[in-house]
């Protein structure tokens, strides 16, 4: 049965959680995939998706960056921000330092990591708006 196959996913998130539902959809998808025994090799934040890592000044328990951190902690998810997208938006300094703006569990990486993960993955999904 196809549904019983265990698969390796790479998820790319292109949208900020403040302006679109896409990041939340990706979060719900990843939770369901993990609950069904699948593996998430990489969650790659690109374009405005890098804003998912920013802690809101109004941070409460529904804040998506906090939910990402918790999910990463529970499941060992690799949450990677594309360094050049993050630099472009001022989240990361020109030297690649995160300036303390990133929620726990997020790290800086590059497009090379995304390509590499895509080669190892069975399925690649992009959540965009």
């Amino acid at each position: 049965m196809v549904g019983a196959l265990i698969m390796k996913f790479v998820i790319q998130i292109d949208a900020s959680p403040h302006e679109a539902q896409a990041a939340n959809t990706a979060y719900q998808f990843i939770k369901a995939a993990l609950a069904n025994g699948h593996h998430i090799l990489l969650v790659f934040f690109y374009y405005d998706g890098v804003c998912n890592a920013q802690v809101s000044s109004f941070a409460g328990k529904d804040d998506l960056s906090g939910r990402w951190s918790a999910l990463a902690r529970e499941h060992g998810l690799d949450l990677v921000l594309c360094v050049s997208a993050a630099q472009r938006r001022g989240l990361v300094s020109a030297e690649g330092k995160d300036q303390g703006l990133l929620a726990p569990g997020f790290r800086i990486g590059g497009l090379g990591q995304w390509v590499d993960a895509c080669l190892k993955a069975d399925r690649i999904l992009t959540f965009t708006s």
């Binding site: 196809v2 549904g3 196959l5 698969m7 996913f9 679109a20 539902q21 896409a22 959809t25 719900q28 998808f29 939770k31 369901a32 995939a33 609950a35 069904n36 699948h38 399925r123 690649i124 999904l125 992009t126 959540f127 965009t128 708006s129």
Partner: protein, 102 residues
């Protein structure tokens, strides 16, 4: 290879749904999600196009997004199947590729 097409924009605001249906292939699936779920309504401008496509194409609707928008079963095209997030994951497993239409 077959494609899981994700349509996440309202058809009243974006041509994404029609554009997607025009490029879907045999054996592909379409999932209406986020504001894309408005494409599943019956008795509206897009109902006929969607119903016709559903005759040859597997078109599903993401139920949590329907509920979030207060859309109930009686206002929807009956031929479209509903899935929850587990069903979404299963669709992604069944189709090798995925494309988003916004």
């Amino acid at each position: 290879m077959s494609v899981l097409h994700l349509v996440n924009a309202s058809p009243f605001e974006s041509a994404a749904l029609s554009r997607c249906l025009a490029r879907a292939g045999e054996g592909d699936a379409v999932l209406l999600l986020e504001n894309g779920v408005y494409g599943a309504l019956t008795g509206c401008r897009f109902s006929r196009e969607v119903a016709e496509a559903a005759a040859w194409l597997d078109i599903r609707v993401l139920a949590p997004d329907l509920r979030a928008r207060g859309l109930c079963a009686s206002s929807l095209l009956q031929t479209l199947g509903q899935v929850d997030y587990d069903g979404f994951v299963e669709l992604a497993v069944r189709h090798e590729l995925s494309l988003t239409w916004t």
